[in-house]
Every structure is written in C-alpha cells, then in structure tokens.
C-alpha cells in the first residue's frame, strides 16, 4: 500500500499547493481524461473508488450463491451448462474487480476480510432467496438487466482500470440478461404451471430489482461528489427510470404482470410512472435483516474457513519449492 503524496514526483513544475492539485485533477476529469493508478488523486477520490469497486466485487462473489443454488437442479443439460457458465462469469467479474481495486493500493485479502467480518457492503439483491427455477430466469432478466443499466455508464468512469474492467463485464452481463429473458420466454410460452412460476418470480423480484439502483436522489449521500468526479454519471432515479422504461414492455411481451398497481405510462413524458417503493424493506435488508443475509455471509465464511488448510498447503508447498530452488542456486 502506498500513499500518493509521498509517491508524487517532486519536480519544479509540480504543484506545491493542495488546492492547485485538486484544481488540476478536476480539470483532467472535466476534459474526460482517464486517471491511471500512478497519477496523483485526492485521497477521498481513492477511498470512494475503493469502496465502490470493492462493493461491486463482493456483489459478484456473493451473487454466485443464489444462482449456484440451482446448478444441481437445472432442468436440462443445456440450461445446466448455461447456468454454470454464468455463475463462473460472475466469479470472473469478481476477480477483475478485485484486481482493479488493488491498483488503488488495497490488497484483495484485506477487502475479502472486510466482507467476511460483515463490514463491507454488497448488493442487497443477493440477500433474496431463489425459490424456483423461474428465479434463475428472473435474475438474468431483471438483476443482470439492472446491473447493465448501472454499469454501462461506468465504462466511461474517470478511473481507467475500473472503466476497462467494466467494458469486459458489461459484455458478459448483457449476454446473461438475454439468456435470462430467453429462459423466461420459454416458461411464459410453456404450461400453465410454468407461467405461474414465471409470474411468481416476477412478483418477488420486481421491487428488489428497483431498489438495486439505491435510494432516491433526495436521500442519496454520495451522488453529487461522485458525479463531479465522473465515477457516477447518472443519478439513482435516472437509472431506475431507464430500467423501468426498458423492462415493462419486456414483461408485457412475456404476458406477465408487473406487480405495481399504480404503474402507468405517461405518454406526454414518454416514461412509465411507478408506485412508491417501500424503502423500509430496503433499509432492513441493508442492515442485515433480509431473508438471506445470514445465509449468504455464512456460506462465504464457511468456504473461507474450509479452504484455509488448502491455502496453507499451497503456500507451504510453494515455500518448500522456492527453498529448494534457492538451495540449488547457492550450491
């Protein structure tokens, strides 16, 4: 881990004054220049990015659990292969994101430790259970769909390594979204029981998906500064609106009913208007009282604990190996 202030080169042209540095930094951001790991950056920018990227990485990793729950029960071999590949992709996203966070001077182990002691956040959506096979389609369609809305703007994020990771991730997320929708279409065109399964899943996942965009702009603490730094480019409410506008017609095409009696299309505005979101539920899940918070964290901890002796064995083996190589060199 390094401190930017000590690492910055002390050349005559280097700004000596903190305000001047900040001003130059902001000017680079305003000119749409990418900030790279070795560049000077305000400590608050670095901390904001670490928090956001780590949260995103943890979400990918915890997100493997609800979908992994159906790998052994996928109803066809093709669906099983698609689901394994998807869960594996999410693990890959977690890896790129931890690597992006590491460019900011924080180790993956440190970030994972924060997750395991319950100090780091991850997307609350993964604290909901996957109760039927239709949940797998719904997660692809809605959860990956919402993730794409959130993440497409991040491909233009001011921090280079994060923006580049997001380009790769977004391609795979849109693939997941299409696969999820295709699964839903198969259920919607299937038997009455399959259609009921699809509708039940939409009923349970709709509101939590809307909450994925975070609190309303009026209540969001981080938005203004993050927008100025181009870590965030649209507000929570703007992104949520885009998601609703894109998703409601897709639900109609499936012949499913969005579980919001107040939902209507405002032709003049060209947008759907939705009913009130139950933020008390969002805050309860965020505080740890969602349906699966305990199970998700317990699963991550148990994998970590059960794997401890394995990681120790690999380290011991590598150490012995390095030791004998050194001995060979010395002799």
């Amino acid at each position: 881990m390094y401190t930017q202030a000590l690492d910055a080169p002390q050349t005559p042209s280097a700004p000596t004054d903190e305000d001047e540095r900040l001003e130059r930094f902001q000017a680079r951001i305003d000119a749409d220049e990418k900030i790279e790991p070795k560049d000077w950056m305000p400590e608050a920018y670095r901390q904001t990015l670490i928090r956001q990227i780590a949260q995103h990485a943890h979400s990918e990793i915890v997100g493997m659990l609800p979908e992994g729950n159906w790998i052994t029960r996928a109803p066809s071999l093709r669906r099983k292969a698609v689901l394994i590949a998807k869960v594996q992709d999410e693990g890959g996203h977690g890896m790129y994101l931890y690597s992006a966070a590491e460019t900011l001077g924080v180790a993956r182990g440190e970030l994972v430790a924060q997750l395991l002691i319950g100090r780091a956040k991850y997307s609350s959506i993964f604290n909901y259970p996957t109760l039927t096979w239709a949940d797998i389609g719904t997660i692809g369609w809605l959860v990956d769909g919402a993730a794409i809305m959130n993440q497409i703007p991040l491909c233009r994020c001011s921090y280079g390594p994060y923006a580049r990771a997001m380009v790769r991730i977004c391609k795979e997320e849109s693939f997941h979204q299409r696969q999820g929708y295709e699964l839903m279409l198969t259920l919607a065109r299937g038997s009455a029981e399959q259609r009921a399964m699809a509708q039940d899943a939409l009923n349970r996942w709709w509101w939590p998906s809307l909450m994925m965009f975070g609190p309303s702009d009026t209540d969001s603490v981080h938005t203004a500064q993050s927008m100025r730094w181009k870590i965030k480019r649209f507000t929570n409410d703007e992104l949520r609106q885009r998601f609703i506008d894109a998703t409601v017609p897709q639900a109609e095409y499936l012949g499913l009913t969005v579980p919001d009696p107040e939902l209507r299309f405002d032709a003049a505005a060209g947008h759907y208007v939705h009913g009130p979101i139950d933020w008390s539920e969002f805050h309860a899940v965020l505080k740890g009282d969602g349906p699966c918070n305990r199970e998700r964290l317990a699963a991550r901890r148990s994998a970590h604990e059960a794997g401890r002796w394995v990681r120790e064995a690999a380290a011991a083996y590598a150490e012995k190996h390095a030791g004998s190589a050194r001995a060979a060199q010395a002799g």
Partner: protein, 262 residues
C-alpha cells in the same frame, strides 16, 4: 497402439455400443454434477473458476455422448431423456464418479483418479473404429489433459504441503482407492468393445493409468493404498447409496413437471 490398427474383428451390437457409450457419458455427467455443486464454495476464487471450467467440460462431454447413445439406441431418447428420466439402476457411470465431496482433498483425489482414467481412455478412443466416438474422444482428450494437470497439481501440493494437508489427502486416498479397480478391470462388455475395435485394450489402459497415477503419488509423497477387493459395478448399474440422492436432486424438475420443455 490404437484399437483401429488391430486386424480382423467382430462387429459390435447396437446394445453393446449403447451400453458402452453410456458408461462414458454417465461418468462425465455424474462427475460434472458433483463439481457443479461446489461452484461458489471453493477454497479460493481461482479454484472456483477452475472447478467451474472442469464441470463445464465434463458436462459438454456428457451431452455429446448421451446424444450419441440416444441415436445408437434409436428409440427417440435425447440427452435430457437419458439424463433426467432414468433411475439409478439404469445409470452406467463408474461408482467413483458419484462419491460425494467431503473436503477439498476428497474432491481432488476423486478427480485425479478419474481424470487419469478418462485421459487414457479418450486418448485411446480417439483412434476408435466408431468415427462419432473417435471425434468426441479427440475433443475430450484435450480437456482431460487440463483436468489432470489441475487435479494432479493439487494432489502434489496437498501431499507435499502441510502435515494437515498430507493427512487429509492420505485419508481421501484410503477412502476412494477401492473404487479404482472398477475403472481398470475389464468386464465382458469392455472385452467385446476392445475386440470390435471400438473400445481401448483394457490392459493398455491399466498400464498407462498405473504409470501416470504412480508418478503423481510419488511426487505427492503419498503411498499407494492397498487394493481392497470389493467388486463395484457402477458400470453395470450397481451403485453406491449416493447416486440415488444425487439423481433425486438432479432430476427433480423434469419429474415434477413431466412433458414440458425448459
């Protein structure tokens, strides 16, 4: 020597070919089902991703082989009908493949012993007289090489790692070794397939498997367990108790909602 190079041979019956292809396909399928359950619960993210890759490869092999079996049988059963609508007694996988995952050592030992068998079997089958089977084997052998590198690499790290890892991997080896005889002992069907130039020569597979596994055990500083002769016949449909539970979970949806597509 590849089986195809052998002279004068009998023609295999469709029943034999069906049964033989199921042995291969079911072994890949059941191993994939075991590994798929581990995804997201591995000792490190890198291992999760590797195990996911291996599960996907095995599942891909199973799909090709079960589809081929269905065509040979000619009764309209596709890969899913074969995977989801047979009971345990109709499964032809090696009993080793269905053994549950206790700790990571058991997963590694099971995969290692199985990977060595699959690798040698597919390498030989790439020269099979059955063109369709040979094509599948040619693709599978590349995958199995990677699987072996992963499992044998971990066998060595665990065997030559810490005292704890050595103890654990030795216990896993003791537990699973008794299922290796089924892989290597040819029954009448294996012999007929070899004679017809479709299947590999069983003695060759045994010899190559022994060489490969012995080398890995030596590097892992592990002793070869004593052979215990209880005859397992997973490949003839006589399984351990574990397979029924595995299938109950795997087959639940197509059984609960029969006749629909997914």
């Amino acid at each position: 020597m590849s089986p195809a190079a052998e002279p004068a041979r009998a023609t295999a019956s469709a029943e034999d070919r069906f049964e033989y292809v199921l042995r291969l396909g079911d072994t890949s399928l059941i191993a994939a089902q075991r590994l798929g359950a581990l995804l997201g619960h591995g000792p490190a993210l890198e291992e999760d991703l590797a195990i996911g890759n291996i599960a996907l490869d095995l599942l891909g092999q199973a799909r090709l082989l079960l589809a081929l079996a269905g065509r040979i049988e000619g009764r309209g059963r596709d890969e899913d009908a074969l995977a989801f609508l047979r009971d345990a007694g109709q499964f032809r996988n090696m009993a080793l493949a269905e053994q549950p995952d206790g700790d990571f050592a058991e997963t590694i030992v099971r995969q290692c012993l199985l990977d060595a068998w699959q690798l040698e079997t597919y390498e030989s089958l790439a020269g099979s007289r059955d063109r369709e089977l040979a094509d599948i084997a040619e693709k599978a052998v590349k995958e199995c090489r990677y699987h072996w590198r992963f499992s044998a690499g971990w066998l060595v790290r665990l065997g030559d790692g810490t005292t704890e890892s050595h103890t654990r991997v030795r216990a896993a080896l003791e537990k699973l070794w008794r299922f290796t005889d089924e892989l290597l002992s040819a029954d009448a069907l294996d012999a007929r397939m070899a004679v017809s130039g479709i299947g590999p020569a069983p003695a060759l597979i045994r010899e190559r498997w022994e060489t490969r596994v012995s080398a890995a055990l030596a590097e892992a500083k592990l002793e070869r367990p004593a052979q215990r002769h209880y005859p397992w016949h997973g490949k003839r449909g006589v399984h351990t108790e574990h397979l029924g539970h595995l299938l109950a979970e795997m087959q639940f949806l197509p059984r609960a909602y029969p006749g629909v597509s997914w």
